[in-house]
Homo-oligomer: 252 residues x 2
Amino acid sequence: MNAATPFDQFTRSAFGIEPGGTIGARLKAMATQAALPKGQSAPSDRTTDQVVFLASGATKLSAHASLEREQIVAFHFGGDITAIPSDSIYAYELTALVDSELLLFPAREFFDLAASDASISRSLLGRLTAALYRSRDKAVALGQKSASERLAGFLLGMSERVGKPHRGGCLLDLPMSRRDIGDSLGLTIETVSRQISHLREAGLVETQGRSHVRLLDLEALMAMAGHAQPAKNSTDNDSNLISINARLATSG
Amino acid sequence: MNAATPFDQFTRSAFGIEPGGTIGARLKAMATQAALPKGQSAPSDRTTDQVVFLASGATKLSAHASLEREQIVAFHFGGDITAIPSDSIYAYELTALVDSELLLFPAREFFDLAASDASISRSLLGRLTAALYRSRDKAVALGQKSASERLAGFLLGMSERVGKPHRGGCLLDLPMSRRDIGDSLGLTIETVSRQISHLREAGLVETQGRSHVRLLDLEALMAMAGHAQPAKNSTDNDSNLISINARLATSG
DNA sequence: CGCTTAATTGAGAGCCTTCAATCATCGTGG
DNA sequence: CCACGATGATTGAAGGCTCTCAATTAAGCG
């Protein structure tokens, strides 16, 4: 086991502890390492919740409301931690959007052990809270927002997580399909496609191929997404630029 | 401080620790106790996330997507713990549905202290995970389900939390208005009202006054909600009755 | 270079919303 | 105890946004 294994990355970057310690050894004993090729789903356990550390790649966590109806509740990227329920009213499934490496833990044992270490507990409490907040924000979008608002919000959210600054705008290389975007936003692929076309016609974005999107006007997108805080006075728009970058990318 | 104070209830029932200990004293030092009359909102802190323990009563946690657009992300009842974000893109607000008693903690300090105690950590990890699962399930409903499915799911969810068994059915005394239900389900009050009328006409529920609802056919409601697991064989419906009661009521 | 899959674009239908009016509920005051 | 008023809930009709169905175009891969 060299210094760059997923497990070392897990203990060090996620929790700030050394993999060689007592806790590290016990964590390792209950971990299952998996290399998920693109499109493949994590081995699901119908009897035990699972905690997942995504070492590298990108995944989607989706719930099957019925055959033909899938809701993606979260996207994950390298370094993210998430939890997969086993006894929900829906069947949840973690699927790789690109080739990915991940560590799987049985949730109950993992939390039992984590609770005994202050550093790990503190990290998990923060991450779970962030994931909860993110999930709530998604619920707000799904419950209250129009298709154009949702798509603008989605692009801005992705820009925070995988965007690269590019001449005052932002360059995205989206790992998910239009269907995935639709399943995440509660829209059909046709509606997603139409909304992207509208954004393109409005000069707010440029697209190249299936996955490359360039956000040309972040401020206009924020206004369109309804992310702008109600201006306290007249033209007090500066605060938006700050708040939009405030939250770190974490599973949710 | 007698044995029935909200704080004693908090440490004992929520975490299984004695309020008199060192941790208990430090928790108490950072706690703010509040009695919220019906309709009133908790004092919001725009700079610090808050952890809330609801000792008694019922509350809603809502996000303001804009003026006139409110999404309720969670209902809470006595014994629940939740967290209110301060720096979200939406303004979150905790409002009492009935006269309520609650304890407020600054989230960062609270989690810092909680992490140092294995018992508290374990409890919080479980509660936060449950809240995350519940929020995800709500996202699924908001993203994929029709009005009738959402309302049936709402009634079943409430039956688990505040329902009283009644002659093979379930008796509900809902503390929230039709507007609250609509804001929770991403529907208008008119649509909620129409769907309730449909359920009544179908003989699945009876209503009495504004808040009393009697669920007459839980199985039919489950089928309508789309909560039924895909039957593995022919008429294997017994498992639904078990799974519907599997999750404990927790904030989220 | 051709094929398979994904994405785009268009037309029509459906579900929920909006707008409007009526009815019921419940707290209050006589 | 009942009448009254205010708020909440119900019901109806019309419109809008997204979905469904269908066809075309583009992208990516062998």
